[in-house]
Symmetry: C2
Subunit: 436 residues, 2 copies
């Protein structure tokens, strides 16, 4: 079962795939040099959307929780990358504490899938040479809890214990702590001031601290340089966007400004579509700049009626969203990949500088709507078949799953490189060093 | 088709597998720390023999030529390891020159298989971000030659061009040169004094320069420490051996000494067999200490008739072997693995510090002889099925191919670590530094 593109217009994406395959050694060397200068995120997941005429990294998750969805064949890649990453951070590392998500209240399937993810991470890091245990920072967990999964595996979550300088478990002192929760509502005190231990990712990578605008600005620069390297229009891998101040439906001037920005961006997109002979409706998405809280995305295809639309969103979701850092208006890139009749969206997993696997999020119910969102809660994971194979430039573009996966992996790495730039810019320690 | 052990006595090997699986994080950490201190060989292949009651690395090849025999699934591991290795050696590397074997006179099948090996290496290093070309140092190759393989792929071999300081091709200046010939008859002048380029492996890794005794002595130390780490008898992974001076059949005192040594070593082996309840015939192997030339192994199960045996070998093979560095008498470890009725011997491939795959050398003709040698020219490669899967301690020892492969990979890495110790001891530059 291999996803296929639903769109009839496959020209630009195939040309992009060809350029990327032709440029393979140059691309890999370029990444190698970039990673000499910039520290890759410890691990990550990038949602990539393939619209048939362009590709875009839509979401970068620095606390990925779908390791169990990768195919068994690619896990040794994660082990090898994990070994390399640990060696750089703390070569003498013996004990690793994984801090899982606090969300133990989800429905049974989600919880079980998440626990499988934790067990997969444990396997990977055991094989990288670490003793791995789980330390929950959920205050409601007051004693060790062993859970049995439907497949018979069991997992023990223990309450993390904090002393003035270190975080650990009773009789387990880790030199490295791996966060597997996104900290989207803020950083709890129990994780602060841990200067003696390696905290991965660092706290300033918490979703509550990240702004989409910082990522987008770094990605702009990277996409431009990469596009120059392989001789393509950067637009083929980078959606157009615009930053906006905080807007409220009750402020008429604001709504008018939004309307102007929407029209301007739709106009730009339509011109690009015309240049490339793309017969799609231009759509833009409005989302919060801050990644704190639940976020959400509003798809807009015309400026008319924006005031009413905003008022509706505010009434329904006002409490869930953080408008403090303004908004981002961005060209929508709709997924055009299908598995049978279901929309499918590739997710690429990285560890250190390496792509270690991926899967498709496949829509659980058949639905023709291409506006289906990334973050739809229901999906069926579909590990990339043959994603463990090497790309082969001998194949025609679009005809080889490994080649397509390689292309997704390149775009995912561009996104992770942008995250690396972003985290350098927001690193509080780097700033402190500046004063020395 | 999964190889199985022919021997009835599977106890010790299964216990070893269990100890190795139980010790996984500790073992991986131990390797991590060792590789901090010792540089792994750039690439390598280790022939491992599984006698059912013990395991041993029998041969370490620092110029492996069977990359085409690895399964497609594991090649990304080689790419990832190659990327890491290149990054350490020369992060700005752009061009890689592979120096292939001079042997273009072999029969068609062998040649075609070897050329496939070269193409596989090219794929791996292209994906690691290098432009790869082949520079032959065979003086008979005077102009570029393009050969088409039976599968339709083509390969171009060009004559390597030497200037006073560098080796390259017309219009191709590599910063790194990868040797894929074992230099078993010596190092040709064209490869000497290349101080500006990275030569991998270094020239003192040439087979003509290596002595088996140096490897064995390093492996002794490593096997002892590793055995202590996981709580086993080092004999389970290390054959007994004895170094001997040069012997000739015409010297009666020499032959007598050999007889005594043979009896002593057979006695030691028989005591071990008794301790472990092993009902096998004790056998020792006699081979040259020097790895120059073709070598060869003489299996001996009794001291009687040694003079005649030696005389026969001298008459038949005297010109092929180099006795200058003496001989090694070593406990024979016979392979007891079978694919159907054929003897099978695992070969583990490494790149940098990582195990990246393996295959079985399977005897081409059915033959019950367990004395079949490693270096028998005819073999059918059989990629490890599921070798790309992670080991899983939940399986009973002997019941899981990934677990067995993990065990082989551990022993292969112990051998590569011994090579690393050996090459440190023989590094001419390290010696020169000692004088500073």
């Amino acid at each position: 079962m291999v996803p296929h593109l639903a769109t009839a217009l496959q020209g630009p994406i195939n040309e992009l795939e060809q350029r990327i395959l032709d440029g393979m050694p140059a691309i890999e060397r370029w990444f190698r040099l970039e990673w000499m200068e910039h520290t890759p995120p410890f691990y990550g997941a990038v949602n990539v959307r393939n619209a048939g005429y362009k590709l875009a990294p839509i979401y970068s998750d620095l606390f990925p929780s779908g390791w169990n969805h990768l195919s068994e064949e690619v896990l040794p890649l994660a082990v090898q990358a994990g070994t390399a990453a640990i060696e750089k951070i703390c070569p003498e590392a013996k004990n690793l504490l994984i801090v899982p998500s606090n969300q133990a209240t989800e429905d049974a399937w989600r919880k079980s899938s998440y626990l499988s993810n934790l067990l997969q991470l444990k396997r990977v890091f055991q094989l990288a040479g670490l003793n791995v245990r789980f330390g929950s920072i959920n205050p409601q967990l007051t004693q060790a809890q062993t859970l049995v999964l439907p497949d018979g595996q069991s997992i023990t979550l223990e309450p993390a214990v904090r002393d003035p300088r270190r975080l650990g478990l009773a009789n387990f002192d880790p030199c490295t702590i791996l966060l597997n929760q996104s900290l989207d509502t803020g950083v709890p005190g129990i994780l602060e001031e841990l200067h003696e231990q390696n905290l991965l990712p660092p706290l300033h990578a918490a979703d509550a601290s990240r702004l989409n605008s910082r990522f987008l600005s770094a990605y702009d620069e990277i996409a431009k340089r990469f596009a120059k390297l392989i001789g393509i229009d950067p637009w083929l891998i980078n959606p157009l966007y615009e930053l906006l101040p905080t807007l409220t439906a009750s402020n008429a001037a604001n709504v008018e400004l939004l309307g102007e920005k929407v029209d301007a961006l739709l106009g730009k997109i339509r011109r690009k579509y015309k240049d490339y002979g793309i017969h799609e409706q231009a759509v833009v998405e409005l989302k919060c700049n801050s990644r704190r809280g639940k976020g959400g995305v509003l798809a807009i295809s015309q400026s008319a009626g924006l005031g009413a639309l905003l008022a509706k969103v505010e009434a329904e979701h006002g409490d869930d969203i953080d408008l403090s850092a303004g908004l981002v208006l961005q060209e929508a890139v709709m997924t055009q990949e299908r598995v049978n009749d279901r929309l499918a969206q590739p997710v690429v997993y990285t560890m250190d500088r390496y792509v270690v696997g991926g899967f498709y999020k496949v829509q659980a119910q058949a639905d023709a709507s291409a506006t289906w969102q990334v973050d739809a809660p229901l999906f069926l994971p579909l590990a990339f078949e043959r994603s463990s194979h090497l790309p082969d430039p001998e194949y025609k573009p679009g005809a080889s799953v490994p080649n397509r996966f390689y292309m997704y992996g390149v775009v995912a790495r561009l996104a992770m490189l942008a995250v690396s730039y972003e985290l350098e810019a927001t690193d509080p320690n780097a700033e402190a060093e500046g004063f020395l």
